[in-house]
Symmetry: C2
Subunit: 280 residues, 2 copies
């Protein structure tokens, strides 16, 4: 068990191969201090809420964030194998032992029961560490049971840094608004996010000949879904304006798939190739 202190305050505390109760106390302390908590060890994971899942024992990295998010990572994949969104309440406690006879029903009672029979504090060897993250709306629960804890860490940090991102759909939109001729010579944007009964049109405008133009933007190569989306807006606007013949729908993206191309043709929609960021 070692701790590390910066010159200002405790910023990282790490326990290696702690007992379940030592792990529990360190984690509880970390959560209290609004620190980011990580636990690495052998565990099972159960989730129940929008769906439900079970995960057999394996070595995983668990992260509990002060905003209530929880992440369970295996050694593979970008996505966590299990998780809980921000807004959850984290709880940590020890259970007497993770025998096979441990009934599901006993969990709930133990979760907040301060007076469990034979307090786990006195049976550290057989006690198992449990992490629980819950929320309502929707009701969801994540339960991580550790057979073995290799490491517990708590991190207290500050992060004021803002992310700047470019190459988004907003950039593509701004590019066209800055220079409407990029879409087509004589195009005039009249509104963005113009609402229809079917949703909001990215760019609403007029062409050279005064025809109404519905523009749908995508930052990357598109498939059939984007064509359907454009068609939906054009349809809705036609119904709304009772102006069938003069409406044009243009999909703007770097490229389209074959099937999307055919769907565009089948519905009299157009395509303009444009990327979110221009050549510098």
């Amino acid at each position: 068990m070692t701790t590390s202190r910066s010159t200002q305050s405790v910023r990282a505390v790490t326990l290696e191969r702690p007992t379940p109760t030592a792990a529990r106390d360190a984690i509880a302390d970390g959560l209290d201090r609004k620190a980011l908590v990580t636990v690495f060890g052998r565990c099972t994971v159960d989730y129940d809420g929008r769906a439900s899942s079970q995960l057999a024992a394996g070595d995983r990295h668990v992260m509990l964030k002060p905003d209530g998010a929880a992440l369970v990572h295996t050694d593979e994949g970008q996505q966590p194998v299990n998780w809980q969104p921000p807004g959850c309440a984290h709880d940590v406690f020890c259970e007497p032992a993770s025998g096979e006879g441990d009934s599901e029903e006993s969990e709930e009672a133990d979760a907040d029961g301060a007076d469990s029979p034979a307090d786990p504090d006195t049976a550290t060897n057989t006690a198992t560490l449990v992490l629980e993250s819950t929320r309502s709306t929707p009701e969801e629960r994540l339960l991580v049971r550790f057979q073995d804890v290799l490491q517990v860490s708590t991190f207290a940090g500050t992060d004021e840094g803002e992310l700047t991102l470019s190459g988004t759909e907003a950039d593509l939109r701004d590019r066209i608004l800055d220079d409407p001729d990029l879409l087509e010579s004589g195009f005039t944007p009249l509104a963005t996010e113009r609402d229809t009964p079917a949703g909001a049109i990215d760019i609403y405008g007029e062409d050279d000949a005064g025809r109404t133009v519905v523009v749908e933007l995508k930052r990357r190569r598109v498939g059939p879904d984007a064509v359907s989306q454009l068609r939906r807006y054009v349809d809705a606007l036609e119904r709304d304006l009772h102006a069938e013949a003069t409406l044009r729908g243009i999909l703007v993206a770097p490229s389209v798939t074959d099937r999307a191309q055919r769907l565009l043709g089948a519905h009299g929609l157009e395509f303009v190739s444009l990327e979110p960021t221009g050549p510098d």
Copy 2:
């Protein structure tokens, strides 16, 4: 600086407040051993690829997975602020110093240059730790520069556990295939994933009266996009079969939004309320 060993092998190694070069060596060793590597400390992050982003200095948790995935987490949010997908090559090295005059152009040359002038090994105080994860198709690069490293850990584990998940669209499909009357009395499923020029139909079948039925399934409450999808399949099948009048399209989901409901009505499509898992 401490290490922890299990009875079988080194499973977790942790350094606290290491020098940049010690951190570099531990991380390089961890990557070599196909371990999961975590680094916590103050860093800046730059990404360039499908989009591009910059993130000013802050305290973050970085995870490098043996499959090539990289994750940068702040203390908020379920999603990483920056990341790199599996399949990337991770690299770790030290740079002479992170002065403001450090030009972007110099990075690439330093990344793999074994013979940098004044090897950073001898200037640990001013050297900065850098993590780099790159891939091709598409060309993408993530660069994490640490001003301060609070902790480096490497974890070697095993994970054979499989995730079982229920409450998915596949469960909803199986529920209907098991008991087609759940959709409507007299419904007969004929195929799943039936292909059309617009995509694959979830369930293709016939109703009581022998009319063709296109069924689109959603595991949760749906909006306009699902209606568009169903419409797309019905349209395509009508064109394919030249059988306009006898086609029915049914959206199956727990519920629909108002707008989706109106779109269904506008296009003569139907809705059946059903959840992926039935009452037990």
